[in-house]
Symmetry: C2
Subunit: 477 residues, 2 copies
């Protein structure tokens, strides 16, 4: 079904667009112009981009067009695969050669890297067209993307609400049809939280799977780079492109085509932690998603992972200490403390006070948790854990605490809570939309995989998305 309007084209899947390009129904330059037009029109409301790279985008699109549209057999013709000519964005903590990279900070407001980060170079090599650098939480150290220097990123589903963070601009841009995909980073949920709050797919790969070279770090032993896209299938295409080794390093047909290997998935439902604190709506939508998964043939079973309860503190200690160390080493903090927002500054101050013994104890807890999670998932023979992505839908911008039942909780903690376990364990996890609240806010379903099995979570997510259409809804912009 060919897109019937510019908006349809903007919201088409990467594969649909790639096919249209190859049938010359749309040219990469037209496509770049269409998306740049949308950015120009909608970004003032969303504030998803810090830097729009229109010239770069048009030059890259022209190059893609020349490579793809040259007659067959002619010298210089080249098809770089599914991302060739596809407009994308990058979170602004990812080094881009000759394009400023602020990390959402004032300190790096004028920083222009001399080299592309590994993921940026890989997307360039895949022929993707860079529309710009997306807004984010300052130095990726927070989950609201309420940025004091570049303004808050607004949620496409309700402009009064946060996009989540720290990759909030990436999620908002993808959700609003301003680009087909983005690459973000996830240290404690920074890909999955905004994906959930903006109703897109966000994959945090296993730790170490995608190179973080050239990415401004938050917490080096937790940081992961990964894709945000409108569907799990689109995310899989981007993941394959940024993986060292490329698609060849993956069971690629399985990743991009769940149908190729139909089988009953076994999903673990953790008996601890994940379901303790949820809004009623999140709980209901999660349960509906579970019913849909079972209809698709998935088997669900309870699984006990007692150490889950300790992941929150361990994740905090590690991130606090490693972030404070990076900012000290870079000469940013405490040297330039006044240039930070209060929230990031207070966390860095906390980080400087973490004793090494507490940090080492957190690392040791992490090892125990990794062993326990691995053992329990293996014993239970589950392919993935299925849980909500966040305890709450998007809070209002500036809303610091959220009521669940009669109790007030800090919004930050509620957003992080269900995401940290996968970071601590270093395992892959994806968030995909699984419904909307009565007020129209998306809610995310999280699949947490084993070891390095991105293929499996992508495959399960695609099965779910073939049977549901939450990911096809468009925000009311």
């Amino acid at each position: 079904m060919p897109p019937r309007s510019d908006s349809d084209l903007a919201f088409a899947s990467i594969e649909q667009v790639a096919a249209l390009i190859r049938r010359r129904k749309v040219s990469p330059v037209e496509l770049a112009k269409l998306m740049l037009g949308r950015v120009e029109r909608l970004n003032p409301r969303l504030n998803a981009f810090i830097t729009v790279t229109a010239e770069t985008a048009l030059a890259q699109a022209a190059k893609a067009e020349a490579e793809l549209f040259r007659s067959r057999g002619r010298k210089g013709r080249r098809d770089r695969g599914p991302l060739h000519g596809i407009p994308v964005s990058l979170k602004d903590n990812i080094h881009t050669k000759d394009i400023r990279t602020t990390a959402g900070s004032r300190i790096l407001a004028d920083f222009v890297p001399g080299q592309d980060a590994s993921v940026a170079a890989k997307l360039k090599n895949a022929g993707a067209v860079l529309l710009g650098k997306t807004n984010m939480h300052e130095f990726a150290y927070g989950v609201t993307s309420n940025n004091p220097h570049y303004g808050a990123v607004r949620n496409p589903w309700d402009l009064a609400r946060i996009s989540g963070g720290s990759s909030g601009g990436s999620a908002a841009a993808v959700a609003a049809g301003l680009c087909y995909a983005s690459v973000g980073t996830d240290t404690g949920g920074s890909i999955r939280i905004p994906a959930a709050l903006c109703g897109v797919a966000g994959l945090k790969p296993a730790w170490g799977r995608v190179s973080c070279e050239g990415i401004i770090p938050l917490s080096v032993s937790l940081d992961c780079a990964g894709p945000l896209a409108r569907s799990a299938r689109d995310a899989a295409l981007v993941f394959a492109a940024i993986l060292p080794g490329g698609p060849a390093a993956l069971d690629f047909p399985r990743v991009t085509n769940g149908a190729a290997r139909k089988r009953r998935f076994r999903l673990g439902l953790p008996q601890e932690f994940f379901f303790d604190v949820l809004t009623e709506e999140v709980r209901e939508l999660f349960e509906a998603a579970l019913r849909d998964l079972r209809k698709l043939g998935a088997e669900t079973k309870g699984i006990s992972i007692p150490l889950l309860r300790d992941t929150e503190d361990a994740g905090n200690q590690i991130a606090w200490a490693e972030a404070a160390h990076y900012h000290q080493k870079a000469g940013f903090f405490p040297a330039r403390a006044a240039e930070y927002s209060d929230d990031v500054r207070s966390r860095l101050e906390k980080g400087r006070k973490v004793p090494a013994v507490a940090y080492l104890e957190a690392l040791s807890m992490r090892r125990r948790f990794i062993e326990e999670l691995r053992a329990r998932m293996r014993e239970a023979e589950v392919d993935a854990l299925v849980v909500p992505a966040t305890s709450i839908p998007a809070p209002l911008i500036g809303e610091e605490s959220v009521k669940i039942g009669a109790q007030d909780f800090p919004a930050r903690a509620l957003l992080l809570r269900l995401n940290r376990p996968a970071n601590l364990a270093g395992v892959p996890a994806i968030s995909i939309p699984c419904g909307f609240t009565r007020s129209g806010l998306p809610v995310g379903l999280q699949l947490i995989g084993r070891d390095r099995a991105e293929e499996t979570v992508l495959q399960i997510a695609q099965s779910y998305q073939r049977a549901t259409d939450w990911h096809l809804r468009r925000p009311p912009l």
Copy 2:
């Protein structure tokens, strides 16, 4: 040349003894009895052993004898290699099944492990006969082996002096001919320092090369287990036996027979740090050793490694923090602070105060140092660095500071100083005797190898020992 007396036998090389056993000139049981007799006679003066395992030794010797002396072709005959029937000792922080393992502490005074440490099991499997567990610095956290709970280990060359530490009992027992070899541990010099002060060979393997499983840790990212023996050749035999994979994991002929591959060694003389603070006698003996090495065909060249100056603080930060973490996790400190000696307690208190950012900065300095050392040694094409093992010979027991020129230095710092670089870099290093002071105290020559090249330092040390006889001298006991 067969040993002419019991004393000659006690000081013979492992290969000589192994040959005598195989020619039935001496039986493993006789040998065990001879050595147990020496322990009984000399240990009251040396205090090298915390626990003597006479019964175990005699049973193991009887087993070795049965295996080795059974007629050829008879069932049960078995030759386990060069350590079969050879009396050895183990530092008392190495778990030994059913034999108490105190780590030189009061806290573990009655601790009896249920399992052998990996190195203990490997020696057992090689047929070595365990005479006992050697005295050491409390919890391996110091360099004097002046143990408050089990008494000071005394230096066989001068009973008023320290043996060095933390593997002081191992070095003293080997030097005094109470066993043929021992296994110690080295976190900041704890094998090489007592080897140097007692005039024996001590090899610190590359980090991670020999398993530390079942060894009570000091600083997990620095701890290494390795052999102390009378010659580099004997040390090589023990090293091969305790290495995972055994002798097969090594270029074994090269390790045990330097002559097999004669070539000119290239030795680097660091231009920084190592020669800044030395007593005149240590300097003279080192220079004489250099002349001997050059006579043997070694080429020496200056090599600049500027980061050496920062190794001291980085090593301290890492060890302080990791030691404090282990003692906290084990429930020892601060819970049982009163049961520690003042010196170890003060270091653990220091460790609890190390901020995580300082620890992380030390790790980051370590990575830079590893890169610099590797690059400089590669560029200079040197096989090893050649330096002194310690700045001073053995101080008196209780002597806290030592004068060099007009200046007083803490004895602890002078003993550690030249040893930490190899720990921080994780590279192999050996100390072998290279002469005696006018008052008859041994001085150590240190060879620091590249990456995992234990073979090379062992080979150079053997070349040196074939041409010199410092390692053959016997202490005046």
